[in-house]
Structure formats: structure tokens, C-alpha cells
Symmetry: C2
Subunit: 216 residues, 2 copies
DNA sequence: TAGATTGTTAATCGATTAACAATC
DNA sequence: TAGATTGTTAATCGATTAACAATC
């Protein structure tokens, strides 16, 4: 009784999509009009077969004998990723990381609009960082509702992150971008994307240790 | 003619290792002595089979009928990850992100010691952020050699990142922690771990769009 | 010893690569 | 039309899960 069941896209593919998007953006900047999966393959260091398979999950964007139109493909992937419109966002935690994110103009370019910072420290409330105002935590729920906030970036310590995620679970937000060193437990209606920097640097460390100077 | 060929560990396993480590650290903090793959499985949301398979790639850390000793496993994974010793690190780019990393005490706890910041802006040179001094770019190569720097975190714009990675490729550094929105081309002897935040938020966006409220 | 739980082999599942007919 | 390159099916490879004998 399910609706025309959309093809299940694997995590591996979603992982690659933004990278395709980035490369296509660069090609556009260089004035390149078309690219074949073969050329794209060399550029990105993955097989042409994989590129064609990946793209074909979403539609036939190419043309036999020609390849892919760069601008068109860029836009199509933009749509697939959902960045063809504005997503309002707030940052919770006006510490170093929160301020760094606030100052990061690239997000806005992609349609992620940072509307406000939130912090429990009354010293910080009212201050602006990179033109973004810091608000007190006690108005966060009403702020989210009144400003169509879809994404909450959490740059607070782990216990605070768990608590805040819990508290915001019924506000209608769609995603949490979690920078805290913990996993969050939220309803299925909220997506969580983790940026666990301490895990990232440990992986680097592991790979450094095993590096023999000639991998891949 | 190869040396006793170490078993090739897949990327997927390396991805999970730091997460095991984090959970084990928390269990230790709670005073838990032992854990079975079954309990650990429930806690982490992955299968017990996978946990046992993963760990067995590195050795038989468990004991039949008992499970795993938490403290022992924590230490063993620490060794596997290479965080049982100090790794000297510098941050290139004393912008918001660089300063945020500099202020991040958790890394030091894991053995990653931030020795200095570097920036091309003479205004910033000499300043301290979170007790870490900012140095001029022109002494970076000698600094790396004189201070046993293994890891360079790059928090500079993409063109600068590409250039600096290139320039540092013969200094003996072992890893680059790359925050710039670009891929880097370095010799195989240098590991690169990318933290592409703009790709991360696009993935979040994709998942938000596809979320039906009942995944997994 | 009996019960529990690992280590490990075998089965399954999914993702990547290869191949090629379709077609621009 | 001939050449190029996609879309797509089939083959391969690798990772996850299931099952169970080994053993504490």
C-alpha cells in the first residue's frame, strides 16, 4: 500500500554527491561546458562506471556520444541535495566554534542562512558575531517557530547537546548539525549529521601510523 | 618478497574504531568493568557480529563466556589508533576556525599537542589565542623540523591550502588535517583527513529532504 | 559441569566495476 | 554514417550478518 516507493539511495552515494557538486562548480568557474564520465573520473579519482551509476539513480542527465552538460548537472545535483532554496539555521553555543561557523560565509552561498546564535551565558547575549546576534536560550523554542528554522547547529558541550536536542525535538526542526562529541537521540523526523572532530583526528592518526608511503 | 603482509583493514572499520573508543571511554567513566558484544551492540546500534568481527581484525581482546574488559579494550584501541603517545601539531590559519581549534582542549587530552598557529597576516603574528602563539609563515618549514611536527591542520582558504600543502610536502610531516573546501594533492607519505563542512551540511540537507519520519 | 559469550567460518547482502547494446 | 559515450545489465568484489564450534 506504499506510495510509488522511491529507489533507496545508499549512504555511499550521498557521501559522494556533494563532492560531485563541488567539482562541477569548479568546472563551471573554469568555463567548461561539458564533461564525459571518463574525464570526470580522472579528475575525481573514481571510476567512470561509478559516476554513471551514481547519477543514474536520479535520472539520465547525460547524453550518449556527448557526456554531461556541466551547468545542467550542477543544477540537477543542487536540486537533489535540496540546496536550490533557502534553509534557515541557528547556531546554539556562541563559543569559538559557534563563532567560527557564524563567520563562515560559504554556507550562505549554498542557501544555509544563519539567523541567530544562542547561548546560555548572559554575558554573550546581545552581542553580535559576524553580524549575527546572540540570543538567550529561554526564547529558543519560540524563535524557531517564528522564524522557520529548519537546522540547528549544536556547538555546545556534550551534556548540553543531549539536553538541547531533547528539548527541541518537538519544535518541527528538520535537522541537527551536531558538533558535540556524543551521539544524539532524537525522533526519526529529525536528521542528525555529526561532525565528530576528535574522531576525525584519530582516523588521521591511525592512517599516519599505518602509512607505508605507497598506498592505494 | 613483502614483509609478513599486515591484514588490510577496511575504511569502514577505521571509521568505527574511534566511536568504539568513545563509548568505551564513557563506560569507563561510569565504572563499568566488562561488556559483552551483545550489550555493546545495543548501546551503539550496530550488530554484535560486526563488533566481534571488527575487533578480531586486531586481536582476540575478548574472553569466551565473559566478554570484553572495558579498560583493556579501551587501551588496546587507543594503541591501534596510535593515540598512546604525543603527536605534535600546528594550525595554519589563525582565522575563526583556527582559533576555535586552538581553543579545543579535548585534542590535547587525546595526545594531540598544538604547538603553534601560523598566519600570513602580520597583524596576527605574535598574538596568542588560547595560549598558543601565532607565528609568521616564512618560518614554518624550519619550525616543523625543529619541533617534530607530525600534523598540520589547514584552516585557510582553498587556494592557500593547495599551495601550503604543496610547500610542506617535503618537510617530513605525516598528516594534514584539511578544513579547506578542496582536495589536496600530496605525496603518498602524507595522509590527508578532510573535514569538508560544506559537504557535511549538504548531506544533512539531502537527508532532511528525503526524511519520511520513519527510517531505519 | 553448565552457561555464556567469544572467535571464526559460511551465507547473505550490497556496492563497485566491467562490459556492451542503445543512441546521440 | 561513424565515433563517442551514455544507460544499464551482468560479473565481481567486499562488507555485513548469521551460525556455531571452541572455550572460558
Amino acid at each position: 500500500m506504499e506510495q510509488k516507493e522511491e529507489k533507496r539511495i545508499s549512504k555511499a552515494i550521498i557521501q559522494r554527491l556533494p563532492r560531485y557538486y563541488r567539482y562541477l562548480g569548479e568546472l563551471m568557474g573554469q568555463g567548461v561546458d561539458r564533461i564525459s564520465s571518463g574525464e570526470f573520473s580522472k579528475m575525481m579519482g573514481i571510476t567512470a562506471s561509478q559516476i554513471r551509476q551514481d547519477l543514474n539513480n536520479f535520472g539520465g542527465f547525460g547524453q550518449q556520444g556527448y557526456g554531461y552538460n556541466v551547468k545542467n548537472l550542477y543544477e540537477e545535483i543542487g536540486k537533489i541535495l535540496g540546496i536550490d532554496r533557502i534553509h534557515n539555521m541557528i547556531i546554539v553555543g556562541a563559543g569559538n566554534f559557534g563563532k567560527a561557523l557564524a563567520g563562515y560565509s560559504d554556507f550562505e552561498k549554498r542557501g544555509f542562512k544563519i539567523k541567530a546564535l544562542f547561548d546560555s551565558d548572559s554575558e554573550k547575549v546581545g552581542r553580535c558575531y559576524s553580524g549575527i546576534e546572540t540570543m538567550p536560550m529561554d526564547i529558543i523554542k519560540s524563535y524557531i517557530r517564528d522564524n522557520d528554522i529548519e537546522i540547528v547547529a549544536l556547538t555546545v558541550p556534550k551534556h548540553a547537546a543531549i539536553e538541547i536536542a531533547e528539548e527541541l525535538s518537538d519544535t518541527g526542526i528538520k535537522g541537527i548539525w551536531n558538533f558535540a562529541h556524543t551521539d544524539l537521540n532524537v525522533p526519526d523526523s529529525i536528521e542528525v549529521e555529526n561532525v565528530h572532530l576528535s574522531e576525525s583526528i584519530m582516523r588521521l592518526c591511525y592512517n599516519m601510523l599505518r602509512n607505508t608511503g605507497s598506498r592505494k
